[in-house]
């Protein structure tokens, strides 16, 4: 009954919360994503007045790849400065763990420099309810004490359920709650794209986890 977790094949039978392929349309193409990331990188440098104490922490799965890409861009903007990039899994801090089977963990990798006194920029692909970010802030709290925490997302699709906002947004994308947004990244999906569409019907009716 796990539905979305069994993603062994990637393109196999429709899973709940999956995009119904018939309705999917690309709202960002590879060059849009590329430009958005470059812009965010510049904004980070501008607001942080450099990238000296910036640590990028991606939220798995796709936030990690986005954080790596941002790290590369920051390095090139800042003339080869090494920007620490890591991953922050928030599974153990989720507020909906009891709504489904226990979830497998993703890797957390905190850069060797740590996060104490740093400017941590959390990176995720889509900002929606804000609950992931709430969980990420809790997780950060157990790891150290950053100077400040900021949030960068590729897409903000609205419908916040908590008082959370992003500091850097690749694209504001007005959506309805019936719609779903899927971010494809070359690292995982073979290509870059942001797709918008309606959800595929869910035969397994995993409704208790649905909003």
């Amino acid at each position: 009954m796990t539905a979305p977790r069994n993603t062994s094949g990637g393109t196999s039978a429709a899973r709940p919360k999956d995009l119904d392929p018939a309705t999917a349309r690309a709202v960002l193409d590879p060059s849009d994503i590329n430009r958005a990331l470059t812009r965010i990188a510049h904004e980070i440098v501008e607001r942080a007045k450099g990238a000296d104490d910036v640590v990028l922490l991606g939220i798995p799965t796709r936030g990690v790849a986005l954080a790596r890409r941002l790290g590369e861009r920051l390095a090139s903007i800042e003339d080869g400065a090494k920007v620490p990039v890591g991953a922050l899994d928030i599974t153990m801090y989720r507020d909906d763990l009891r709504l489904g089977p226990a979830r497998a963990l993703e890797r957390t990798e905190i850069p060797a420099e740590g996060i104490d006194g740093k400017l941590v920029v959390l990176v995720d692909d889509v900002l929606y309810s804000g609950r992931t970010i709430r969980a990420a802030l809790d997780a950060l709290n157990d790891i150290g004490r950053p100077r400040a925490v900021q949030l960068a997302v590729l897409v903000d699709r609205g419908h916040r359920e908590l008082p959370i906002r992003a500091d850097y947004v690749g694209k504001n994308l007005p959506t309805s709650q019936r719609e779903t947004v899927k971010v494809h990244l070359a690292e995982y999906d073979g290509r870059d794209a942001v797709l918008l569409g309606t959800r595929a019907a869910d035969p397994a009716a995993h409704t208790d986890a649905e909003k």
Binding site: S8, D18, V64, L99, G100, P101, T132, D142, Y188
Partner: protein, 344 residues
Amino acid sequence: MKRHLISAADLTRDDAILILDTAEELAHIAERPIKKLPTLRGRTVVNLFFEDSTRTRISFEAAAKRLSADVINFSAKGSSVSKGESLKDTALTLQAMGADAVVIRHHASGAPHRLAGSGWLRGSVVNAGDGTHEHPTQALLDAFTMRRRLAGGRGDLEGRRITLVGDVLHSRVARSNVLLLATLGAEVTLVAPPTLLPIGVETWPCTVSYDLDAPLPKSDAVMMLRVQRERMNAAFFPTEREYSRRYGLDLRRMAMLPEHAIVMHPGPMNRGMEIAADVADSTRSTIVEQVTNGVSVRMAVLYLLLGGNEPAQSTPGGVTANTPSTPGAATASNGRTGTEEIAQ
């Protein structure tokens, strides 16, 4: 994963790898300033110990507490159990107290099985060692230790040669290890005097040798099992000296091992009996590491059984597919696709 962990045979290869991968992630928690996770807040874990085992109880207790579960230690000694209360009534009491998981250690083989299958209790049952039957979390932590030392901390133990030496007949550690190691693809050799091997051992997924010297040069790991000295009174072997000469691991035998091989012991050790002191204290010995790993593995088991509204479900091919894969390859198996947020 099944709802209970009674036998290592309950675990498929994917289940076992899910537990080991999860434990691998959780092991990092111990390195943090705050070693606690909020995940099992509000869950109650009962340590129901009918047999003294401070080591195992503390390990489970630390695991549950690091996950923020409420822990109740129920020791049969000095409780109503020692006054003749039955396992059934004890279980009904725990049920009434709302135990989400019962970690049970019992001198009777099958007691956890009984607890899980009786309908006396709704929570998950985790076997922390039953009689001479099984001790699955010990096998998991042993596999975790082997995987870290021999397989880079990932995947299974395919083709690794593991030698278990000692009182297999009375060892729950041996039973669980044989089952789990076979599931993980390792080649297991049991070494013991014939008196300390169970009838029917030839049907187990392993090979058997009466001679310790033979398998050592090809062993990636050798695990020494505790041998109780009292066994010699029941004629299982003539004398302690003869046992230790034929089946003990001393420096001469350790030198026969390949360079990379490790020496393991589930503890508590009889130094000078099954293992020489300088072997136990050597750099190849993982004995202390096994204890540390025990907490991570038990955290993983408790989390995967209790973290959701049902046990985790393992997926083929492992779980921590966080490293970006090559284009076109399978997506990560975590629940979060790009579209998701919490409670979406």
